[in-house]
Structure formats: C-alpha cells, structure tokens
C-alpha cells in the first residue's frame, strides 16, 4: 500500500517531504524513504502521488512491489 524511493536515484532534495499529505517520508542522514504504513499513494488527497509528481529524478518515487497496493487505489 505504498510508494517507495529508489535510493540510488534520490538526490536528497527533500521536495517530496514537503508535499506528502501523510508525513510518510522519513529522512536519515540525507537518505529519504517512505513509511509504507503511512503512505496512501495520496488516495483521498490528490489526483496523483505528490512525491512522484515533484521528484526531479524519473522513476525514483515508484510503487513498492513488496507491499499490497493501498486498498482504495485498487
């Protein structure tokens, strides 16, 4: 039920963190990650996932294949 950040692509710019409606984006030593428990894929908030919309790197904020899609998104 979540997006994830492909770490090797991340520039650490923090833009996603500013936009996330769920406060799901964590930073540790400039490494950013998404808490799958908090991420709703922006369903119920916005038409598109905000992290992916603002991320400067293509294919960096992507669907996390290891967890099921957010229920309302399916």
């Amino acid at each position: 039920m979540a997006y994830m950040i492909k770490e090797s692509n991340c520039t650490g710019c923090s833009a996603c963190q500013n936009e996330c409606p769920n406060n799901a984006i964590l930073e540790k030593n400039f490494a950013f990650s998404i808490d799958p428990e908090k991420c709703t894929e922006c369903v119920g908030f916005f038409d598109e996932p905000q992290c992916a919309a603002i991320c400067p790197m293509p294919k960096t904020c992507i669907i996390n294949p290891d967890v099921p899609r957010f229920a309302s998104a399916v």
Partner: protein, 531 residues
C-alpha cells in the same frame, strides 16, 4: 563533506512550492495585461525609450537617490560595487518545483562553480550562524542571498525563517532572493514584509512553445504539468510575480540563460517584456552545458554561446535596459567577492568552531573606508577621461584585466582565475564581461596547454593588464597578438585602460601599430580546477 545533493540550476532557479500547501485550490492565475504605468518602477523602465545609466554599469548615474541607496553596496546589482563588496548565499532551499534542461540535480562536485550546486545544505539556524561568521570575517559582505540549490519559494518556510533570523541578528545585511517565479505571486506580500529588497527571477522565455524546449515539466497546484502547458503556466506566473514586485517598489533583476538555437533570438523580446513590467536589470548568461554535468542540454550537444555571441546579444538589449555583465553564475553556497569563492573557509564544521563577534561598528568603519577607495577610483577615471575629450576616433578595443578586487590591477598573470574584460573607446572604459581561465600556475597541465586556454578565453582582447607576468607567457601572448601590460601594476583599472587607449590611438596614428579586429573567444565551461 560533500553531500549527495546539489543541483545544477543554472540560474538558480529553482522551484517552489508551498510547504504543505493544503489549500489545493490555489487558482491558476490568468495573467491580465496590467497597465505599465502603475507606480514607481526601476530606472530601467523610465520613459519610453532610452535606457538610463543605472543598473549594471558605473556609479550613480541618473539613478534616483532611493534606488541608488538600494543598489550601491550590492555587488550583483551594481557593476561598480562588485569590485568592492561581497555577497554570500546560504543553501537552505534544496527542493525545486520545476525541471530545467540545463540542470541536473544529481550532479555534485565541490570544485564546480555553477548555480544549483552546493557541497552541504543548512538548516535556517546553521545558515544564520554562518552569515554572522562571514559578516564578522568579511566586513565588506553586504548581501545575503538565498538561491537554492533548488528554488527558495519551493522551500518557503526554510527560506523565510532564515531571513527572519538574519534580520534579527545582523540588521545591516541586505536580503535578496532568486527564484524561478512559479510561486512568486503567492509570496510577494511576505517578501515585502520581510524587507527583501532585491528579487531575481529567471525568465528564459515568454513564448510557451520555446519554453517547452527548456522546461520538460513543472509541479504546480499539486499536479505535474508538461510541455507547452507547463511553460505557459510558468511564464504567466513569472510575469505576474514581476509586476507585483515592481508595483511594490521591490527591485527586480531578470536572469535569462542564453541557449543558442533555442531562445537566443527570442531574448530580445523577453528583454522588452520584462522592461515594460518594471524590471531594473537584465542579466543574460551563457548556457553551461558540459556533457559531464549530465543535463539534457549537455547530453544532447546544445552548446553555450561564444563570448562575442553573448556580447552582441547583451549589446543589442542595452539600448532598452541596463544589462548585467558581471554575473559569475555562482553556486548556491558561494561566499566572497563575485569572482572568488571562499565557501571552503566557512563550512558548517568550521563555522560552529569559530568565534563569532558581529560588530556593526567595525563593519561600518570598514565600509566607510571602502567608500573612500571607491570615490578615488571614480575620480581617477573621470580625470583620465578628460584627457580623451576632443579626441575623435571610432576605434574600440577590449582589454582583459587580472584583479583581486578594489578596482585595481593587482593580480599576477599566473594567479588569475578569471580576467575582467573592459571595452575602451573615447567614450570611456566599460566593463563588458569576464572570462574564467584555468590557473596558469597550477599543476596538472603543461604550461603551454594552460596558456592556450588563457589565449582562447581572451582572444578578442587587444591587451591584458596584470601586476606581473613571466617571460614565457609574455612571449606566448605576444605571439597570439595580445599585448601583456604590467606597467600599470597596482593602479586603477579604468584609469589605466583609458591611459593605455590614449597611447594606443597615438601608436595607430603614427603607424607603430595596426589596429586589427580581434577574433572571438571561448566562454569556459567545466569544473574549476583547484589544487
């Protein structure tokens, strides 16, 4: 110490998006053509036609006292001031809300000197401490700018918090910000309330079709927009923001990146539009597109302009408005005079250990001394100019100068990291640009190779003024048709340039010298090489 983030925004532009904007309904502004005569604008817009002499070139000219007060100590807004006063940027704004094809946020190199690039990013508290540390150590540092490495207005809380902290601790420092303009209309009131007196907007186009070739996407109103639609929104927001600022009497500089084959022919139109909206100064900068930066333009082979291509465009716009030609396209964490970067002396680690004694009186006393030096430079120039009065000649030449600041020829040829370029004619000596060069004395390159780099950078110049020069480079320069001049060592630049020019005209008249038109020159790209 290097941090994985950086951006390569060329002009610094970044992006902007309101932090946690939950009011998703912010509406798209449809720009109304507003009347151009609303309120006081910068001198650039005075009258319908000719430009006034404010902006980038020498001295007060016909600036109103009010505007002169705002620009006289600002190295970016006054060419004359940039020889004497320093600026600093603090990198508190990493996020961006647009993508530019000349920017790659992934590329980071501590030796690289470009907007959008930083080696570390700061919290507002760290930034405020750094400002005090620099203000204590460099009393001629008069301006704090926030320019990224993303867009300041995409990080509004961090940006405005930093300005608040600095205003409280160091009230004499001028505040300045540089933005891509997307979120500018939202924040104009806050900018005014914080007494931010100078705002730079990067405007590369007013035609969305051209914009689509520069900006692949923007993030606005919680959505990603692409192509022509993205460029149209961006352009409307930029011009609206510019109008709102100038109506409030806030000085605006417009930065434009000259991208040959994309917007080079369009920028004269951009110039007219921003002038009509009250922009004070226009800074047309060369595209930086080294392939190793990994930008779209770098990878698809879009080249930057040559020195003369840039100058021709700047000259053609100058009839309309004041042009800034002394921009060094500096990093989002630069510290020092425009031509130098002392940011390595002020890393967070070092700043935290420094004794910081911010003393307004010491700063003012120092700056009064700077003002005396400045007045002497102007007086010497004017005196020299008198000696050319009545001389009739349409010859003009370019002269390259090695200087460490203070308006003097005070740098050894081999130590110069850049040369300032002056155009000299019977009407005076005018700063028209600068050229970055590899340090001639630095290792890593053969001497001949380094000299070649210098020659390519100043190939359009007739002479190069230096405080000293070795025999080897002297001969190499002469062979390339550039006269090395060290007889004005430690003297004032403009005065010396005029004296040289008077002598040059004499030599042409007597047949000793044949006046030839020089060729073009390179604008250097790529990382600064440091030892």
């Amino acid at each position: 110490m290097q941090h994985p983030q950086s951006g390569a925004l060329q002009h610094k532009m970044g992006d902007a998006m309101e932090n946690g904007t939950r009011k998703a309904e912010a509406q798209l502004f449809v720009m109304q053509p507003t009347p151009l005569n609303s309120g006081p604008k910068g001198c650039g817009s005075k009258g319908g036609g000719g430009k006034s002499s404010c902006g980038s070139s020498a001295g007060q000219g016909d600036l109103s006292p009010e505007i002169w007060e705002k620009v006289k100590n600002h190295p970016c807004y006054s060419e004359e001031a940039h020889h004497h006063y320093a600026r600093m940027h603090v990198a508190v704004a990493p996020a961006c809300n647009i993508q530019c094809n000349y920017c790659n946020r992934k590329y980071d190199c501590s030796n690289e000197s470009r907007p959008g690039v930083v080696s570390e990013r700061l919290t507002p508290e760290q930034a405020a401490r750094k400002v005090l540390a620099v203000a204590s150590n460099i009393p001629q540092m008069t301006v704090l700018g926030i320019a990224g490495p993303g867009d300041p207005l995409a990080n509004p809380e961090k940006t405005f918090k930093t300005f608040e902290l600095v205003t409280q601790a160091a009230p004499d420092i001028k505040l300045c910000l540089s933005t891509n303009g997307l979120m500018l209309p939202e924040y104009v009131d806050r900018i005014q309330a914080l007494n931010i007196d100078h705002v730079t907007i990067t405007i590369n186009m007013i035609d969305p079709e051209i914009g689509a070739k520069i900006y692949p996407w923007i993030y606005y109103n919680r959505k990603k927009y692409e192509g022509v639609e993205a460029a149209r929104i961006l352009s409307e927001r930029q011009l609206l923001g510019l109008e709102m600022l100038t109506e409030r009497g806030i000085l605006c500089k417009v930065n434009s990146v000259m991208i040959p084959g994309v917007n080079d022919r369009h920028l004269a139109e951009v110039n007219r539009e921003v002038k009509s909206r009250g922009a004070f100064l226009h800074n047309i900068m060369p595209l930086i597109s080294a392939p190793e930066h990994g930008t779209v333009f770098g990878l698809n082979g879009t080249r930057g302009p040559t020195a003369q291509e840039l100058k021709v465009l700047q000259d053609s716009c100058e009839g309309e408005m004041n042009m800034m030609r002394h921009c060094r396209q500096c990093r989002a964490d630069a510290v020092g005079l425009l031509g130098e970067d002392r940011s390595n002396e002020f890393t967070t680690e070092k700043v935290m250990e420094m004794d910081v004694h911010y003393d307004l009186e010491i700063r003012q006393a120092y700056q009064e001394d700077v003002e005396r030096q400045r007045a002497a430079v102007v007086a010497a120039r004017n005196e020299e100019l008198m000696t050319l009065a009545g001389t009739d000649s349409n010859i003009s030449i370019l002269i390259a100068v090695a200087t460490k600041g203070g308006g003097r020829i005070n740098q050894h040829f081999g130590h110069a990291k850049e040369f300032q370029v002056y155009e000299v004619s019977t009407s005076g000596a005018k700063f028209v640009g600068h050229r970055r060069v590899d340090n001639y004395c630095q290792g890593g390159f053969g001497e001949e190779e380094s000299l070649e780099t210098v020659v390519r950078a100043i190939n359009d110049c007739t002479a190069v003024f230096i405080s000293r020069i070795g025999n080897c480079p002297r001969e190499g320069l002469l062979k390339a048709g550039i006269e090395p001049i060290d007889r004005f060592a430690l003297e004032y630049i403009e005065q010396s340039a005029l004296a040289y020019f008077r002598d040059y005209l004499e030599r042409v008249r007597s047949g000793d010298v044949e006046h030839v038109k020089r060729g073009d020159a390179d604008i250097r790209q790529g990382a600064l090489i440091t030892t």
